[in-house]
Symmetry: C2
Subunit: 138 residues, 2 copies
């Protein structure tokens, strides 16, 4: 009912996709998420709203939303992929190797430098992310 939801329905239509209950549910869960849930975390959250949604649909929805540029997939090294709404300001992630916690960091200067390097090589960025595995210094 809120503005973002209407906006999201429009984004789906613009991408030539149908506006389904399942897609709306997954997307709204992701909009509310303050963390970076993986597919089966999303399944359990969506099931609190619609208990008939399937894991296959969660995965299909995630692919489709990613291709439409609405969400981003984070490929980690030793655990299932996590997802988040495409952030307005691009940011990178620190994964605390002890706790698994994901922390967001962002630095415009880094983004600028990175973009410049890629352009210099004659490429345009499709997606990009930095994953830092780190441990808290005691």
């Amino acid at each position: 009912m809120c503005a973002e939801v209407t906006e999201f329905a429009r984004a789906l239509k613009d991408a030539g996709l149908r506006v389904t209950q399942q897609r709306m549910t997954v997307m709204s869960i992701l909009m509310d998420a303050q963390d970076h849930p993986n597919a089966d975390e999303l399944l359990s959250r969506t099931r609190a709203v619609d208990d008939s949604i399937s894991l296959a649909t969660v995965y299909r929805t995630l692919s489709v939303l990613e291709e439409a540029g609405l969400i981003q997939k984070l490929a980690l090294e030793n655990e299932p992929a996590r997802y988040e709404i495409t952030p307005t300001a691009e940011h990178d992630h620190i994964v605390d190797v002890e706790t698994g916690e994901v922390i967001e960091i962002s630095n415009e200067e880094i983004n600028r430098l990175r973009r410049a390097m890629v352009e210099e090589l004659g490429y345009e960025i499709v997606s990009q992310h930095t994953l830092i595995r780190a441990r808290k210094v005691k």
Copy 2:
């Protein structure tokens, strides 16, 4: 026989690991590699040297070498992980989304800024990598 190989045997010992034929083979293949092979690419290259090596051993060796800090694993979004010798100068990767080609880029300023941000948050970097999916501009 060359210097790096002796060095590598020492690195294994220092890590409390046995120096096996298979580990030496996998490591030397990686040292010669100019690309970023995945596990089964490594299996076929190692089999050209030792045709009895198994895929399980390739994976076990890769884990062990990664834990020892001798190699790095690159987690991609839609294909099996790739591996490379831990580079002397840290560098990032562009994956050409059309061809799958991996290009290395490196920028000391970015590394510096990134390290500073992580430190400021009270963390120390365990590993880190930037993956840029990009397409060639025509």
